[in-house]
Symmetry: C2
Subunit: 292 residues, 2 copies
Amino acid sequence: MELKRYIDEKKKIIEDFLSEYFRDPIEPGIFYEAMKYSVFAGGKRLRPALCITAYEACGGSGLDILPQAAALELIHTYSLIHDDLPAMDDDDLRRGKPTNHKVYGEAIAILAGDGLLTEAFHMFSRSDKVSQTALLTAIKELSSAAGLYGMVAGQAMDIISEGKSADSKTLEFIHRNKTAALIRASVRLGGILSETDEQTLDAINQYGENIGLAFQVVDDILDIIGTTEELGKPKGSDDSKHKMTYPALYGIERSRDIASELISNALKAIQPLQDRAFWLKEIASYLLKRTN
Amino acid sequence: MELKRYIDEKKKIIEDFLSEYFRDPIEPGIFYEAMKYSVFAGGKRLRPALCITAYEACGGSGLDILPQAAALELIHTYSLIHDDLPAMDDDDLRRGKPTNHKVYGEAIAILAGDGLLTEAFHMFSRSDKVSQTALLTAIKELSSAAGLYGMVAGQAMDIISEGKSADSKTLEFIHRNKTAALIRASVRLGGILSETDEQTLDAINQYGENIGLAFQVVDDILDIIGTTEELGKPKGSDDSKHKMTYPALYGIERSRDIASELISNALKAIQPLQDRAFWLKEIASYLLKRTN
C-alpha cells in the first residue's frame, strides 16, 4: 500500500467517527452549524492519523482509540478558528473557504472554538478500551501540550512578536509551541494510550518533536513558494503580517536544509522500532515533500 | 460559625491554591499576566466553594479536591473573559476593574481564556486522593456542562437572542445553560468525586439545578436594582444590550417570587441529607439575599 492510500484510509475512519459524533443537532442551530462548518472543512486529519499510527506502531489497533485521535482534530480545528479571528491573524480564507467568523460572525466563531475545545476533553475521556491510568496520563499530556506549555502559549508569542525583528530564540519558541507541541503530543499520546515501554515512548517523543518542528518550517516555506490554490489561502500572508518565520530569518535554502535535518533526526529516532515504524517513517518523509 | 466566615475560609484555601499554582512565570509574560489578572480579580469563588461544600456534605474533606474545585474557577474565569470581548457583550468593567481585553488587548484576552480553559482540564485531572473512576466520570460531567450541553451553548443562545422579544422557552434555555449548568455541575462534581450513592447525588443534582437558575434570576434583578459600586459594573447593562432576562419577561416582583420558589425547591431537595446539608442550605439562602 502506498502512503496516500494509507492516509486516506485513516482519514476516512476519522471522518466517519466525527460525522457520527456530530450527527444529532445541538442548540442553538447556528452554533452547531458553525462547529460543523470548520470540523468538516476538509482538513488533512494529520494529528489523528499520527496518533493512530503511533498507537499501531506500539502494537494496538487504531479503532480502539478513535475518540482520542478525533479529539485532537477538534483541538486543532478550534485553534484555527481562533487564530483566524480579526483580533488575531485576521484571515478571510482557510482551506479555500471563508473563515468561520466570515460566515457566522465573530461571537459565534469564538464560541464555536470554545465549544470544540471543551468537547475535545469530553470525547477524549470516553473509552472502554484504554486503561483509566493511561487515559488520565493522556489527558494531562494533552491539556499541557494544547495550552500553557504548548499551543496557546506559542500563539500568544506569535501574536506579540509580529513586526519585531526575528531572533532565533523567539522563533523557535513560537514554532515549538504553536505547532510542534500538538503534533508531538499526537504521536506521544499514541504511545501513552498503548502503555508502551519508556524506551519506545522516548523514541516516539523525539520523532514527534522533530516532525512537529519540520512541519512548521515547511509551512513557512510553502507560504512563500506555494500557490493560493494549493494552500487554500493567499500566499505570502506571513510576510504581509510581518510574522517571524524560518525563511525570514534564515532564507529559503537554509530553511529547507533545517527541515530536511529535522526529518532525518525523526527517522533516526525511531530506527530502534524497526518495521513497526514503517508508516511513521513514510509520514515523516511525506511531510518534507508536501505541497499543501 | 456564620456563613460569611465559612465562605471566607473556603475562599482563602482556593486563593492560596491558585496563587501557588500560578506562582512560576509562564512565557510569554503578557499572556501569564493576563491570565493572572482575571484569575485574581476578586471573584467570590462560589463554584469551588459549592463543590467543596457538596463534597463535605457527602463525607469527604475539601482539601482532597482542591485541584478539582479550583479548576471550576478557571473555567468560570475564562468564560467571563470571553463574554466581555467586544464581539460578545463588549463590557469595559468587571468586578470594578477594566476587563481583560481593555488591559491586554483582544488577542491576548482570547488566548488567556483559551489557556485557562485548557489548563482547567490539566488541573482537574491531577489527583492522588480521588479514584480514577470518579475522576474520569467527573471530567466527562464537567466538559459536558461547560460546553456543548451547558455554558457555551447558553452563551451562544444569549448572543443570538439579543434584541429579540423575550419568550420563556428561550430565556430558560439561556439561563439553564449559561449559568445554571456550571453551578449545578459544581455541586454534582462534589458528589461524584466523593463517590456518594445515587440517591444523594440525585438530591444534590436537584439542589444544584435550582440554585443555579435562582442565581441567574437574582443576577438579572440586581442588574436593575443594584448600584454600580455593588455590582462592579454599570447597572442596567442587560437592558441597554436588550438581553433576555427574567425581569424583562416577568417584571421584578414575579422574578423575585421565581427566585424564591427555586431556592425553596433547592432546600426541599436536600432535606433528606439532614444535618450534612447545613452549609448547602446556608449558601442557598444567601444566594437569594445577596446584593452583588
